[in-house]
């Protein structure tokens, strides 16, 4: 009997210690984010982990390629696997993943929507529910060589025609007029949409119905093609360029204008990589007379997986990561333009990045790509091939537009019964 008691006590003690251990061990939140070269994410994770005893972030970096990230998320989420709690989502994924039922609606928790820009919120809301919190903004804008324009006594362009005119005037045999991302991939769609919107085009109505005007589609496509084949301010090699190539040309001082994302500014101002430090100006993308400048959003957001076992703790992480302080750190360390509007009036941020004032104007007019789960397929199968054909000069805008719209409609129809 005595022996039995000893054994029982021992077991009870072991159990108690184990349970106590469990009670003390923090909830681990697996946070998956695309590769971050600035180190800001790690800094934020360390800050969070140091201040939270009960929640610890397990920070996982994904490949830098957006497509690879997407496919990895799909593999995990389609299996309803709980190994992802928090994930960074590119703006077109939000309707896609939300429609698939993989994201947690955040309406009850995400109450500070007024603090954000309108465009990113349009992109993170699907069928009247919000599925992501904007983390940092990205939108296309026009970079120009301030020094060259000033020297020639020219104002930065506002309309399509002005851009062409100035580019033709200032280009030389060693300097292109205008460079952008023209390879057949997602980036070229972002560039084209800015032209399409800038001519007054609209793609989908709020119910997701295709309402694009064929004439505007044709004109905007033709405009891109003309840059290469008629105005000759963009070389044919544009069809082999993504961000890295077009940006390298611009910071080497080999182009007057460059359509790019905000990070271009950081590269252009870095003496180690750039020959045009202090010579760069930013304006919103050009538009047709009487229309508004538009910018394609590439906002990165934070979402919570519906299969997360700790949604409450995951929200704590999202809340922390998207707080004013955190976005400020991401802005200062990584040059990532914040998603919260309040950070743009932060003296410390503005002192370091005075150009954020111009970014602010761009973001106020920025729009998400068509908000539909069908968008990724539309982009690859309907939009990209037609832009590529026009840029290569094998089709005119008028020939490409009907084909594009027909394919878009076909893909949208798949969502119907």
């Amino acid at each position: 009997m005595k022996r039995f008691l000893t054994v029982a006590t021992a077991i009870a003690l072991m159990l108690a210690f184990t349970l106590a251990g469990y009670a003390k061990s923090p909830v681990v939140i697996n946070m998956f984010v695309g590769k971050d070269q600035s180190g800001a994410n790690q800094e934020l994770v360390d800050m969070f982990n140091a201040t939270h005893e009960d929640i610890q972030i397990n920070y996982q970096e994904m490949p830098p390629s957006t497509t690879e990230q997407h496919d990895k998320y799909v593999t995990v989420l389609a299996a309803r696997d709980s190994s992802i709690d928090v994930l960074s989502s590119d703006i077109p994924w939000v309707p896609e993943f939300a429609s698939a039922g993989w994201l947690l609606p955040l309406d009850d928790m995400f109450t500070e929507q007024d603090e954000y820009f309108a465009g990113p919120l349009l992109g993170t809301t699907y069928q009247r529910q919000v599925y992501a919190v904007p983390w940092f903004n990205n939108a296309g804008m026009l970079f120009y060589r301030k020094d060259l324009l000033e020297e020639a006594g020219l104002e930065p362009p506002e309309t399509f025609d002005e851009l062409v005119e100035i580019a033709q005037k200032l280009q030389t045999p060693d300097r292109y007029g205008f460079v952008f991302q023209g390879m057949q991939y997602e980036g070229v769609v972002c560039a084209w949409l800015e032209m399409f919107w800038g001519m007054g085009g609209q793609m989908l109505d709020p119910d997701g119905k295709l309402i694009a005007d064929e004439k505007i589609v044709a004109e905007s496509l033709q405009w891109l093609g003309d840059l290469v084949h008629k105005h000759k301010i963009t070389p044919p090699a544009v069809t082999t360029w993504k961000e890295a190539e077009s940006q390298a040309i611009f910071v080497e001082g080999k182009s007057v204008f460059h359509r790019g994302w905000p990070s271009v500014y950081t590269y252009a101002q870095n003496p180690a990589t750039s020959k045009i430090v202090g010579k760069v100006g930013i304006v919103p993308m050009v538009h047709a007379p009487g229309e508004q400048s538009a910018a394609t959003l590439g906002t990165w957001n934070l979402s919570i997986s519906r299969f997360s076992k700790h949604p409450k703790e995951a929200w704590e992480v999202v809340k922390f990561m998207t707080s004013h302080e955190a976005q400020k750190i991401k802005a200062i360390m990584g040059g990532n333009p914040p998603a919260r509007r309040s950070v743009y009036t932060d003296a410390e941020v503005l002192e370091m990045y005075p150009h954020f004032q111009q970014f602010y104007d761009v973001f106020m007019g920025a729009l998400p790509r068509p908000v539909t789960p069908a968008y990724p397929q539309m982009s690859v199968e309907a939009i990209q091939p037609q832009i590529a054909a026009v840029l290569a000069g094998t089709k005119t805008g008028e020939e490409a537009a009907p084909a594009m719209l027909k394919d878009m409609q076909r893909i949208l129809d798949q969502a119907k019964q």
Binding site: E96, A100, G101, A237, T240, A374, V380, P385, Q417
Partner: protein
């Protein structure tokens, strides 16, 4: 072996298992495993391909649509393009590999000093992981720092660097180059194994009869080597027709659809479009395509070998 015999000398046929029964019992676990890991997934894919099923639209359910997906495939330009890409890739790389592989095998079949070393060295590309070698070739073909550009530029063949894998015209050829580099050793290895089975006396006898080297090659080497060539071609063709990893890493199927093989399109249909019904139909179509190639090989090449 007869039926088991007990100490009393009586057979125990009634109680124990007959030999064929025992055989069936022993083979059962293997059959179950094969069914679970091979036949079940294939049948499940076929079954799925008869449905409309898109993960993005869970509210549509999973309705049975018969052969609808297959009808769609036949008029799908992207599918036809991937079929063309796959066929061009397969035919071009495998034929070059066969010729080069044969040349290397013949060379290695001659005795010379350091043959063992050369034989090993030739195998190195084949030993590399495809993903690693694809990444390596991506650097070789790089438009800014690529050594391929540097060499061509240095020799004066090009006057400016060409983005080989980002250009619609060149991307597929660049991929073929990488594939040839990697798998020629495999061809060479199989063929040189085959060469070693040819008795030396045949060559000696033919030499006495005054046959030239060329004549020997066509009348002795090729006929005897034919079964080996068939196997080597079959292996390589099936591999090339299902090419995925090399293209996925080197070009990502791009630019546009310029290097989108059947396997890559299938993958994209499943993982980008999340269209599991249509994607499964594409997978089955790829399967049928590969089956067709094997069938042709065995019919055409196999029949002649038997004669």
């Amino acid at each position: 072996m007869g039926a088991p015999v007990t100490a009393g000398g009586k057979t125990r046929r009634g109680k124990g298992l007959s030999e064929s029964q025992l055989g069936r019992v022993l083979v059962t676990p293997a059959v179950i495993v094969m069914c679970a890991v091979v036949f079940f997934p294939i049948l499940a894919t076929v079954w799925l391909s008869l449905h409309k099923y898109n993960l993005k639209y869970p509210y549509l359910g999973q309705p049975f649509v018969g052969l609808d997906n297959y009808v769609k495939i036949l008029s799908d330009g992207r599918f036809l393009n991937s079929l063309k890409v796959t066929t061009l890739f397969t035919v071009s790389s495998v034929s070059v590999e066969l010729v080069l592989g044969m040349a290397i095998a013949l060379l290695l079949n001659r005795p010379f000093k350091g043959r063992g070393l050369v034989r090993t060295a030739v195998l190195v590309p084949w030993a590399l992981t495809t993903v690693v070698m694809a990444r390596m070739w991506a650097w070789i073909f790089n438009s800014e720092y690529g050594v391929f550009n540097a060499i061509l530029y240095g020799l004066g063949f090009i006057d400016q660097y060409i983005p080989w894998v980002a250009d619609t015209q060149f991307a597929l050829w660049a991929a073929m180059g990488a594939d040839i580099w990697k798998t020629t050793p495999f061809m060479a290895l199989l063929l040189s194994a085959g060469l070693q089975t040819i008795p030396r006396e045949l060559y000696e006898a033919s030499m006495v009869d005054g046959a030239s080297g060329w004549k020997q090659f066509w009348s002795i080497t090729i006929p005897i080597l034919k079964p080996t060539i068939l196997v080597a071609l079959l292996f390589r063709t099936l591999d090339a027709a299902r090419v995925f990893d090399l293209l996925f890493v080197l070009t990502g199927g791009g630019p546009g659809f310029a290097t989108e093989s059947l396997s890559i399109y299938t993958y994209r249909s499943l993982f980008v479009n999340l269209d599991f019904g249509y994607g499964s139909a594409l997978a089955v179509a790829t399967f049928l395509y590969v089956m067709l190639i094997s069938f042709i090989y065995i019919k055409v090449l196999g029949a002649r070998t038997e004669r």
